[in-house]
């Protein structure tokens, strides 16, 4: 285990103007019995992922509410990192080659991390399934009085059998299981109470903070994005799962009706294996063929939180052509900025994009293009959807709502 991360401090009071006094006072009441409760959030990643974003905003807020809340990251080396990645892939429904040697590596590193977990905690929340066996290893000695929660952030419904049944054995003894959506449960979960807690965004951070026109213009100019031409954006990992090629296809069809339209493909996570790299290169080549109209922002230096903020604000419409893993909480970042979203009805999208209210659900290239064209030509509808989207996120996907669910969960197991 790496040592405790030092997140930027936050205060719940600062969120009153965003979510209202009632919710914040409610949080304080809920948190009262947990003053000084030692809670460890343990994750596999510390940056660049939705889980890291969520912990970055929620851990300091839980501390501000009086809990003794910490965030640590599991220790990996090259080999175990590879195994972890394969495990993630298999659990998320991609195929992975899984063998006995990988199982041994996994067990070995879990045992090592269990040894590193020295302090006592009242509650241990494990984010994502790769460290699931920690509890099994620790049970032999310490931490018997701790409550253990497994919080899975991926969709397990089509997980690879062998990997899932291995992991499932180790989560039977947890005190609670948490999923982001009721459709994300793996098969055969019995005997452990299950909660649903969707992820959430932090409207106060650099990803969502207000930006002056000047600041937006500066970044757009940097990437040669024309400020006078209408813009549609997909801000997502550049993987098959998000169908970047399909996004280009939909854009090209929409462009037939709106010739001045531009597309920004902003890559929020880079290819990690040869298979993904090949796909990435195909997308790059396709984008390069239309480089006058398609901006492919794939340099990691170009896609920090501020740049995501800029592109979502500059776009008239944000799209998400597909989503085969997880919730896609970044769409709430776009809705928060009052942007209508056109997205595939997959993963957590239907919870965020309410068809005809906060955006449109679309499946085919024609449907995507049709909705994009319609929104480009109809600012009034775009504005209405945007406003409704902002309200929908305020009500459902802000970190304060997540904190409320989290505290309720603690209530249930303490």
């Amino acid at each position: 285990m790496y040592g405790t991360l030092a997140p930027t401090a936050k205060r719940v009071e600062d969120y009153v103007p965003l979510v209202g006094r009632d919710l914040i006072d409610g949080l304080k009441r809920l948190a009262k019995p947990f003053k000084g409760l030692r809670v460890l959030n343990l994750s596999v990643t510390a940056f660049g992922t939705g889980v890291a974003e969520l912990l970055r905003s929620s851990v300091p807020l839980l501390s501000d509410l009086g809990l003794d809340c910490q965030w640590q990251v599991v220790h990996v080396d090259e080999e175990s990192a590879r195994v972890n990645k394969q495990m993630y892939r298999a659990l998320a429904g991609g195929r992975a080659d899984w063998d006995e040697r990988m199982v041994r590596t996994w067990q070995h590193y879990t045992a090592m991390n269990a040894d590193l977990l020295r302090d006592h905690f009242d509650v241990v929340v494990i984010h994502d399934l790769q460290p699931a066996a920690l509890r099994t290893h620790i049970e032999k000695g310490r931490h018997q009085r701790s409550r253990w929660i497994m919080y899975s952030h991926i969709d397990l419904s089509s997980a690879q059998d062998d990997v899932w049944s291995l992991v499932r054995r180790h989560i039977q003894d947890y005190d609670a299981l948490v999923f982001e959506d009721e459709t994300f449960l793996g098969v055969g979960i019995e005997g452990v109470p299950v909660s649903i807690i969707p992820p959430a965004i932090d409207p106060s951070g650099p990803r969502n903070m207000p930006l002056s026109q000047n600041a937006i213009a500066g970044v757009l100019d940097q990437y040669g994005i024309n400020r006078r031409r209408p813009l549609v954006a997909q801000v997502a990992p550049c993987s098959k799962d998000c169908d970047a090629l399909g996004a280009i296809e939909a854009f090209r069809l929409a462009q037939e009706q709106v010739p001045s339209l531009q597309l920004v493909l902003m890559v929020t996570s880079l290819p990690e294996d040869p298979f993904e790299l090949t796909y990435f290169e195909t997308v790059a080549a396709e984008a390069a063929r239309h480089s006058e109209d398609i901006h492919f922002l794939s340099n990691p230096g170009d896609v920090g939180n501020v740049e995501v903020n800029v592109v979502q604000r500059a776009a008239k419409v944000v799209m998400q052509r597909a989503l085969r893993k997880g919730f896609g909480i970044w769409l709430s970042d776009a809705l928060w900025k009052e942007k209508p979203v056109v997205a595939a009805p997959m993963g957590g999208i239907p919870k965020q994009v309410i068809h005809g209210k906060t955006g449109y659900l679309a499946s085919t290239t024609e449907e995507f293009a049709g909705h994009i064209v319609n929104l480009m030509g109809n600012s009034e509808t775009a504005q209405e959807l945007g406003a409704a989207g902002h309200q929908h996120v305020t009500d459902n996907f802000i970190v304060c709502r997540y904190l409320r669910d989290y505290l309720h969960l603690l209530e249930g197991i303490a």
């Binding site: 991360l5 000047n214 340099n299």
Partner: protein
């Protein structure tokens, strides 16, 4: 063909207001006879690392001035990268146990990538040792030397290279037409064959890390990170490791804090999973900072990206780089470019950038560092003058446009468009004073 890496287009014209008409015209006229020349850059990693960062700017700029420049990356497995990491370390002076099998892995991947190399170029620039064997391998398999001029761009300091490894590598790089080093001292005397060139590193003034950002954005970022824009701020941007001495920086801050109770310090870094030493030093740094809430430790763990680093540097009154060992020290360049005086360790490439007492101060101890920082904080006029001088020095010597110009000279010399005796070619690009 290997796989091409996409880059965002860039226009030289956008640099005009930063570097002036003369330098723009110079580049354009140097480039004129090279119009349409096919240039290929080859390296090992498309993302992350200093080389990729430079190519991200350099390649689209070459395209913009009329060259047909492309950037491709070799394909290789984990075993290759394990071997070349060891090779890299040993060339920088670390002792590594070398086995014939390791060379085999290196050669095998060079051979496999060579097989995919099926186009012709006027200039091929091979970056660092990873793909360096491709030229010899192509020559061998095709029974003749591939077309065009081949240049080996070495980004590593070879001063203390492990002899065994360098001796194995040398025949492969001896075959090149030109070899570029970062510093005169980094060259190897026993490398004969390629014409040697010196090209110092550079920064891109229009990249997110360095471009101007509006005051209100800087302020929002500071507030989000709990930094008070009204109070004095000092900053160091560096990996957490013993060579950058983050603990020493905290000691500097502590000794100043007694005299300036409202002083703030921000330590900025980027963490990587494959760097356990970095994590260990992160923890030590957090512990040393203790309960002092005016010490901010801000990394990608806090969501810090390039824009944030940029904002912290611009917000600081003085930038520290208390290195006890350093390569070139590009974070010093970044700080100077932003018009901030930099107080830094007198090591590596730092003295090339900091003219003591003119663009900042060179220091050796915590006490010296604290004294210099204090004098700058107490004398905004002096700080501003030094910052201005530093900005000028970077503009003259360490911008990507100068790097671009150097490449044009090198291509022209190799193409016979410009005369070059060996000595002259070296001198030509070693224009840094001191």
């Amino acid at each position: 063909m290997l796989s091409s890496i996409p880059t965002t287009p860039k226009a030289l014209e956008n640099y005009r207001s930063l570097i002036g008409d003369d330098r723009i015209e110079e580049i354009l006229s140097l480039a004129a006879p090279l119009k349409g020349a096919r240039v290929l850059h080859v390296n090992a990693t498309p993302f992350g690392g200093g080389v990729a960062e430079i190519l991200n700017s350099l390649v689209p700029l070459m395209v913009n001035i009329g060259l047909e420049a492309d950037w491709q990356v070799i394909r290789a497995g984990d075993d290759f990268f394990r071997v070349t990491k060891g090779m890299h370390n040993s060339l920088q002076g670390m002792l590594i146990d070398w086995t014939p099998q390791m060379w085999e892995v290196w050669l095998e991947y060079n051979r496999a990538n060579g097989e995919m190399f099926d186009e012709e170029y006027d200039f091929v620039v091979i970056h660092d040792p990873q793909p360096a064997a491709m030229l010899s391998i192509l020559t061998e398999t095709n029974q003749c030397r591939p077309a065009g001029k081949w240049v080996w761009r070495c980004h590593i300091d070879l001063t203390d290279a492990q002899v065994q490894v360098w001796d194995m590598l040398r025949p492969y790089v001896s075959a090149y037409d030109g070899a570029i080093f970062t510093h005169r001292d980094y060259m190897k005397d026993d490398l004969r064959g390629p014409i040697p060139f010196i090209v110092p590193p550079s920064i891109d003034p229009l990249a997110a890390k360095n471009a101007e950002i509006p005051e209100d954005t800087i302020e929002s970022i500071l507030r989000h990170h709990e930094i008070d824009p009204q109070r004095p701020l000092i900053a160091q941007v560096s990996r957490f490791d013993p060579w950058k001495d983050p603990l020493g920086v905290i000691d500097v801050y502590r000794s100043l804090k007694r005299k300036m109770p409202d002083l703030q310090l921000v330590l900025v870094a980027s963490m990587a999973y494959d760097d356990p030493e970095g994590w260990a030093w992160y923890e030590r740094t957090v512990r040393r900072a203790g309960e002092d809430m005016d010490i901010k430790i801000r990394t990608n763990l806090n969501g810090v990206g390039n824009v944030e680093v940029n904002a912290f540097q611009r917000a600081a009154q003085v930038i520290i780089q208390k290195s006890v060992r350093e390569g070139f020290g590009l974070t010093v360049t970044e700080g100077l470019w932003k018009g901030r005086p930099v107080v830094a360790g007198n090591v590596g490439g730092i003295p090339l950038q900091i003219v003591n007492g003119e663009t900042g101060y060179l220091v050796n101890t915590v006490e010296e560092c604290a004294d210099r920082v204090l004098s700058l904080l107490g004398n905004p006029g002096l700080a501003s003058n030094m910052g201005q001088a530093g900005h000028e020095r970077v503009r003259d010597n360490f911008l990507i446009t100068r790097n671009l110009r150097d490449y044009l000279h090198i291509f022209r010399i190799l193409a016979g468009l410009e005369p070059a005796g060996e000595g002259r070619a070296v001198a030509k690009f070693a224009q840094i004073r001191n």
